[in-house]
Symmetry: C2
Subunit: 246 residues, 2 copies
């Protein structure tokens, strides 16, 4: 599995993805699931991928090659006139890759499925965030649903639901995301460190701060331990259940 989250804040976008891939529990590897293309001053496009690794790597490669081959460049990530058309391009590529593998006689077609989060901004338009399905169609974030998760999404959802605030800073959002990832990592072996983190500041039109949080990261470990302790203390301060008189 995988766990990736993208958030839309008032002043920008935040992306976080884990790096663990596995084929069974005895075949575990580290792969990057966050990919960015940019033409500074004009556009920044970031994808987070979850699902079959052969599919997601093929999608990334096809999209990347189109940005380089001159004859294909007009339909590349670096040329699309809007984020909506970028989402259409990614969706069509994803659908095409899944279809080409499923056509080879493989029956369990869900095996090749993948889901993609797309976020970014193109000059002259607003920053936008999309969730793209294996069928190639997609949905966009809104003030009611300001974040998207893909992969192993359930463990880490409660903290996002409770703590998300569109006015939060990149640094606060990172804290929230690390807690969401830590809850997931503690409960599920298929999600693991290191974590990739990226900020995009609205209207900057250039790739923002980006880093990889390693397993020995001091802040990650301080937060993980601190949160565990704080949860226990908070738990202790809430009133215990009282049995009604029967």
């Amino acid at each position: 599995m995988t766990y990736c989250v993208a958030l839309k804040l008032d002043h920008g976008l935040v992306f976080m993805s884990d790096t663990r891939t596995n084929a069974g529990v005895d075949n575990v590897s580290i792969f990057r699931k966050m990919h960015t293309w940019s033409r500074p001053g004009e556009r920044v496009i970031t994808l987070l991928t979850a699902g079959n690794l052969a599919t997601t790597q093929a999608v990334i490669s096809v999209l990347d090659e189109r940005t380089k081959a001159s004859e294909d460049r007009t339909s590349s990530l670096l040329e699309t006139p809007s984020m909506f058309q970028t989402a259409q391009l990614v969706g069509a590529t994803l659908k095409e890759v899944i279809k080409s593998n499923a056509d080879t006689g493989q029956k369990a077609d869900s095996t090749f499925n993948a889901t993609v989060i797309l976020g970014g901004q193109i000059n002259g338009t607003e920053p936008r965030l999309f969730l793209i399905y294996p069928e190639g169609n997609f949905i966009e974030s809104s003030p009611d649903t300001p974040f998207f998760q893909v992969g192993e999404t359930k463990y880490g959802k409660p903290i996002l639901v409770r703590a998300y605030d569109p006015a939060m800073s990149f640094e606060e959002a990172t804290k929230m995301l690390i807690l969401s990832f830590d809850s997931t990592i503690k409960a599920n072996l298929s999600v693991g460190l290191p974590l990739d983190l990226q900020f995009y500041e609205n209207d900057s039109l250039e790739p923002g701060f980006e880093t990889r949080i390693m397993p020995d990261d001091d802040y990650y470990n301080e937060l993980s331990n601190g949160w565990g302790e704080a949860i226990k203390q908070t738990f202790a301060t809430l009133p215990d259940y009282k049995r009604p008189k029967q």
Copy 2:
């Protein structure tokens, strides 16, 4: 879906189950998923069920009828000599019910699947807790894995992992379980109030305290709101991320 949890504490067992069943989101009903048989002074047996409602109801009915029909009584829940043999009986019944439905030409055999948590005590033996699979086999809890969840288990697992302590009181355990259920209910429509709650005190050999927590329960709502507030405050006290100098 469903969400049920059973915990083994130093001094007894605690069971909690939701009551929502659904066939699609437009067909939602309330059904009890917690069932208890007892012969005071000799044994108490509690089952929590998750999965296909026709299957779980059939399993409960078959088990219940055997405790009443005199010719079948020797292989009933009220006559098994040990909790292990009780788990075998429930497992065999579950497997048989699933098989009898799957044999009618239905291809999606997983559709009829169900999973059962069994807990209780029989005079002269220790209290024990089992998780019984649709295939009829089962596992037992241990100090390393002192609780079982069935149904929609992921949202509510982090709080159990963080807060569980075998020495906790029934009242503290109830607080923890309500938080686990509340996280699940906030994130997933297929789990809903009211919640059934039951305690079993070791060696009491009679059904313990039991109640149904309704949607307007003051304690539930106080805890749900209090936890939300406390999480936000705790979150605010932890240090924000600091970007390393690049």
